[in-house]
C-alpha cells in the first residue's frame, strides 16, 4: 500500500457565483499565484479529481497558505468531499450534496507575515468514496468561526489531496 497524492492548483480552482476567494498574484522574483480567503466571510473554492487507485481510509488535505498582512492569529480551514461512482450512482451530479465538512485550526507561526504554513485536514467524512470515483473537493476558510482569529486574508498557495491506494 502506498500513498497517492494529487495537487490542487489554485489557478484552476472553480467557484460558485458568490462567496469565493479572490485570485491574487504576488512575488518579487517569481510569481506566487494564490486564492485569497477573506477574514470576514466564509469563502470556498472547488476542484474535481478522479480518485485514482483509492483504496481505503481517510483522505488527507494539505493546505499550504500564508497570511496577506497578519503575523498572528489562527485560521480555520475546512475541507469537504462529494464522491460519485460513474455508471453506478444514480445521483444527479448537478444537485449532489457535499458530505459533512472537516476542519483544522492552524496557527500563524509569527516572525514573518507572509511565511508559508501547512494546515493538515484529516477528512473522515468520505461520502462513500470508492476507487476511481469522481471526487469534488471544497476547501474553505471558516471565517465566521470564533476560532478563526487571524486578521486579513489567508492566501492558499497550493493544496494537495492524498490517500492510500489499493
Amino acid at each position: 500500500m502506498a500513498t497517492v497524492t494529487q495537487q490542487l492548483d489554485p489557478g484552476s480552482g472553480q467557484f460558485l457565483a458568490t462567496a469565493f476567494p479572490a485570485l491574487v498574484r504576488g512575488g518579487t522574483n517569481f510569481p506566487v499565484l494564490g486564492l485569497a480567503y477573506d477574514a470576514a466571510a466564509n469563502e470556498a473554492a472547488f476542484w474535481l479529481i478522479r480518485a485514482v487507485n483509492y483504496g481505503t481510509g481517510n483522505v488527507t488535505v494539505h493546505v499550504d497558505w500564508y497570511a496577506d498582512t497578519a503575523t498572528t492569529g489562527d485560521v480555520v480551514w475546512q475541507a469537504q468531499l462529494a464522491a460519485i461512482t460513474p455508471d453506478t450512482d444514480t445521483q444527479d451530479v448537478e444537485t449532489k450534496a457535499l458530505a459533512t465538512l472537516n476542519t483544522v485550526t492552524d496557527t500563524h507561526l509569527g516572525t514573518v507575515g507572509q511565511r508559508l504554513h501547512r494546515a493538515i485536514i484529516t477528512v473522515t467524512n468520505l461520502d462513500a468514496l470508492a476507487v476511481n470515483d469522481d471526487l469534488w473537493i471544497r476547501i474553505a476558510r471558516d471565517a465566521a468561526n470564533v476560532a478563526d482569529t487571524m486578521a486579513g486574508d489567508a492566501v492558499l498557495a497550493l493544496a494537495t489531496v492524498s490517500y492510500s491506494d489499493v
Binding site: A2, V4, T5, Q14, L16, V24, R25, A36, L48
Partner: protein, 234 residues
Amino acid sequence: MAVRFDLESDAYVKSVGIPGTTYTWTCWFYVSVYRSNWQGIIDVGDPDPSWQYLGIDSSNTTIIFAWGLNPHISVVASALGVWFRCAVVRNGTAVTAYAGQVQNALSSNTATITNGLTPTKLWVGRSANGNEWFNGRVAALKMWDAALTQAEVENELSQYQPRRTTNLLAFHPFIGTELTDYSGGGHHQVAGSTATTPEDGPPIPWGPFRPRLIRPSAVAAPVSPPGAFFPFFP
C-alpha cells in the same frame, strides 16, 4: 483580483495594438456605484463622439452598446454589486454585444455600424467622452483582431487565460493594477493621472486544470527523463 476605477483620471488608454473593423474583446466588470451619467466600461473609439463602447445608460438600468451619435442598443439589465461577463464582436459593420450576470446566460443584441467608425484607441474605465467614466471593477480583458463565435466568447469568459491565442492583440488580466499586456505583443496600457486600486475579482479560475500523472509515492521514479514517457508530468 480586478482593477477598480472611480474617477475619470483613473482610466487606462492605449493607441497601440488596436484592431481594424473586425475585432472581439471580452472582459468581466462589476458596477460599484451608479452615476447620474453614462458610464463607459470599455471603448475602442476616439475621439469623442466617435465612441464604440459597452457601458451603462444614464438611467442606471441597462447595459448598452453605443457607437457614435447613433441610438444605442440595450444588451441586458444592469445591477449593482454583481459580476457581469461581457463581450463585443464586430465583423465589418455588424456588431454583436454580449453581457450577462455571473449566474445567468449571456444576453446579446446586434447593431450595424454604418457611419464608418474605426477603432483608434482602447479605453478601459471610461468612454472617449471623459465625463462617461466608470465607477467599478474590470478584470480579464482580452482582445483579438478576429470575430469570435459565441461559443468562443463563452469559452474565453470562463477563465483569465486566453484559450485562443491566434489573432490575440491584448491580454490584460488586471490581477492588480498593472498595465502590462501579456499577449506578447507589448501593447501595454498607459495609466491615468490618478491611481487605481486592486479589488476582488470575478469567480473564474486563472486557467484550466492541468493534466497530471498520478503514481503511488512508494514507486521509484523512472530512470528516463520524465518528459520522454510522461508528457504531462509536472
